[in-house]
Amino acid sequence: MSWDVIGQQLWNGLLNGSIYVIFAAGLSLVFGVMRVINMAHGELTMLGAMLLFTVTDLVGLAYFPGAALVVLVMALAGFLVNRVTVRPFLGHSELVVILSTVALSFVLLNGSLVVWGSGPKGVEKPFNEIVQVGGVYITTAGLLLVGVCFAAVMGLYLMLTHTKLGKKTRATGQNLLGARLIGINTTAIYDTTLIVASGLAALAGVLIVLVSSATPNLGQPLLITGFAVVIVAGMGNVAGAVAVGLFMGVTEALFGQFVSTYYRQGYLYVVMIIVLLLRPQGLFGRK
Amino acid sequence: MAILETSGLTRMFGGLSAVDRLDLSVEEGEIRGLIGPNGSGKTTALNLITGYLKPSRGAVTYRGSEVTGRQPHDLARMGLVRTFQITTLFENLTVRDNVLHGSHLNNPTSLMGAMRRSGRYRRQSAEMEDRVRELLAFVGLGERIDAVARDLSAGEHRYLEIAIALAAGPRMLLLDEPATGLNPEEAAFLMNLIRTLRSQGVTVLLVEHNMRLITNICTRITVLNFGAKIAEGTPEEIVDNPDVITAYLGKRRGA
């Protein structure tokens, strides 16, 4: 094996891993703060990609304004997701919330199939040069993807640790009742959490089209991968999800190259099972 | 003979020891009081003894065998049963079903019997029902048998908890502040219950804040402060002990 091949796979893995990171971070955030498994998270990403296709291809916006618009709209849609499928059910069992988000994903997925059909849709990339670094081919669009993901994660980190809102959010996640007692408006926190998570999901969607195409079916597999990442990291641990997402992306690419392309899909789950066996609370989870 | 012994029992949380090298020896048939200011480690000690927490160091011996780190349900099977500081019931079940579900260790029915509703199963069920009624009458809840547990008053909650614990058939009962939330009459009733239990051969370890109650009923009292034992003796000795007074007053001043 040559270093070029390894380098190429590292790069490919970095691309996937970056997507996993922001996808799983949103999933984990919602779980950590609200104790809600959002089964529609994958469809939010899918919508991000499909809407970007529509505003660029059909409406004629350029990539950057289109992507910004889509992420903004989808973030606001997060508010609706909370008010329609989460908030009305919080008084009931946690399972009912799973069901309502399943219902939402049903609607979104099948609605998208009706609107867009199941075929893959390409989106015009803002720039698409290929540069060669050593023996590794790197696309500028890919560089953009990695850069934006990095910025998004830093932004999320700073928001959670250095802003009042972030501190309130974390307090709410740790102790809902306590947070209410000290006067935190937890309803607003829940709204913002889903706004942020939905925005992150859509961001993943508009970035995915930089390296592959948009299709209504991209949500489910991503959701599953996202859960694997979240489990390995420890549920609700956002920082852990970031580290694990990146690790999973890179090692998955190497596994695909050197062990088996065929079973590549299974790799993540095997890692997950091993982690569960040795450390059921996840690598970064508290016992 | 000591029914329960701990030696050097220690539990750390972060850098602090919630229970610190505790040596405790409870004689069979005793009513032992365990007191101490808030946060002095009483509940933690109970959790360590009954297997709800693993000790950082030290050992627990029950009826002559070492049981450190054993699972709570194993200890219950050996007759070591506890109640909880925060009221803990099967809230959605009726009072009867609470005690019935507490009777797990005294439930002789077989799976096949239950499936077939065999004569034996029905006889055994009827016997269990009788025992449930008996226990409920004993704790004064005979009239409330069909009420749903969460609808009971605070006092009734406490009695039901004790009935559930008794349904497990304890040799030694560890009660964590059972009189919290009770008015003086209810507390007096509870203390009588505990005395009756003792006369039936049950050893009791009683965690309680109410000094009057505990000095009235206990044979001996152990005092914790900051997780460590600071005094032990008869109620009279404890009330006059200057260390105990300082611990309580010091706490008050600090708070």
């Binding site: 498994i37 | 909880f84 803990t88």
Partner: protein, 340 residues
């Protein structure tokens, strides 16, 4: 006390009588009778999922994987080894139960609630991936065809009607056994862990052991349902292990009503019939379905069956709703499902 027949059984019994008669009068063509069989198969799967949800108060996202696994076990035995489907109907639950024991042991040692849901999701997806990829054994994405139907004294039960009555009988047996299991020592142990695990342990219930056994039992039951599916529809494929069926079972339980025994049976009928009606809407059907689902969850979060029970109670002369929740502690069939 044991003579009073609770409303649950009246309703359930009525449901069954209707079910038993429909293929004779209403659903007279083969296709529609096939739907009835499907209702029963989903009902059994729903009942087993409800054992985890209603009795254990937990959730497994990997339940469909055990369903598909059971289907594969029975189909493989019949196809590769020529073993009779009747043996398959036994082997499938045994195999699913054993795997359930292993998975349950791994997952239930530490995790509960939502954590358990996600962990079992991982196992389920892994199983699905393996089924999809392990072509020589599973037939890959297209699965296995020509699974033989069971035969009785040399006469193959191919007719929808015969298969329907055969599985209806089994369904009845399963509901009956489940109702009795609840009042067994095991059933009460499981129930007590559901209600309060710490308290259950304090009175001697070996919580993890009981939960692992209960989980394994539910897996066995759903494996059986899978075998019923395989020999009726005569094919198996990896999708049987996947999330689509998982969602169906979840819908069956939650729409029907959690923890009510008859709820999943009703939920299954509702699911199959509603999605059949919506078929006319073609590609819009799943969109509408999702909306309908959301509305049902919104307005009947305890499920349809408990809602009907409340109506029935009111009709029987304003008896207060709590009155026969647990008559004599003997009949848990009516325990409200929405609580907890």
């Amino acid at each position: 006390m044991r003579l009073t027949v609770p409303a649950g059984w009246w309703l359930g019994g009525a449901l069954l009588v209707v079910a038993a008669l429909t293929p004779l009068f209403v659903f007279t063509n083969t296709y529609n009778r096939g739907l009835l069989v499907l209702i029963i198969i989903y009902a059994v799967a729903g009942l087993s999922l409800d054992y985890i949800m209603g009795e254990m108060g937990q959730f497994s996202f990997g339940h469909a994987a055990f369903w598909g696994f059971g289907a594969y076990v029975s189909a493989k035995l019949a196809l590769d080894l020529g073993i009779s489907p009747w043996i398959g109907f036994l082997a499938a639950p045994v195999a699913a139960g054993l795997v359930g024991l292993l998975i349950g042991y791994i997952a239930l040692r530490r995790t509960r609630g939502l954590e358990l849901a996600i962990v079992t999701l991982g196992f389920g997806v892994l199983a699905w991936t393996v089924a999809l990829r392990w072509r020589p054994v599973t037939g890959g994405p297209s699965g296995l065809r020509q699974v033989p139907p069971p035969s009785l004294f040399g006469w193959e039960i191919r007719s929808e009607l015969a298969y329907f009555y055969f599985s209806l009988l089994l369904l009845l047996g399963i509901v009956f056994l489940l109702s009795r299991l609840r009042t067994s020592r095991f059933g009460r142990g499981v129930r007590s862990i559901h209600e309060n695990e710490d308290l259950a342990k304090s009175v001697g219930v070996a919580a993890t052991k009981y939960y692992v056994l209960a989980f394994s039992f539910a897996c066995a039951l759903v494996g059986f349902s899978g075998a019923l599916y395989a020999h009726h529809f005569r094919f198996v494929n990896p999708n049987l292990l996947g999330l689509d069926y998982m969602f169906i079972f979840l819908i069956v339980v939650l729409v029907g009503g959690r923890g009510t025994l008859w709820g999943p049976v009703l939920g299954s009928a509702i699911f199959v019939l509603v999605s059949e009606w919506l078929r006319a809407l073609q590609e819009y059907r799943f969109v509408i379905f999702g909306v309908v689902l959301l509305l049902v969850v919104l307005f009947m979060p305890i499920g349809v069956f408990p809602a009907l029970q409340n109506v029935a109670r009111r009709m029987r002369g304003g008896k207060d709703a709590g009155g026969d929740v647990t008559p004599g502690g003997q009949d848990p069939v009516l325990e409200p499902g929405g609580a907890g």
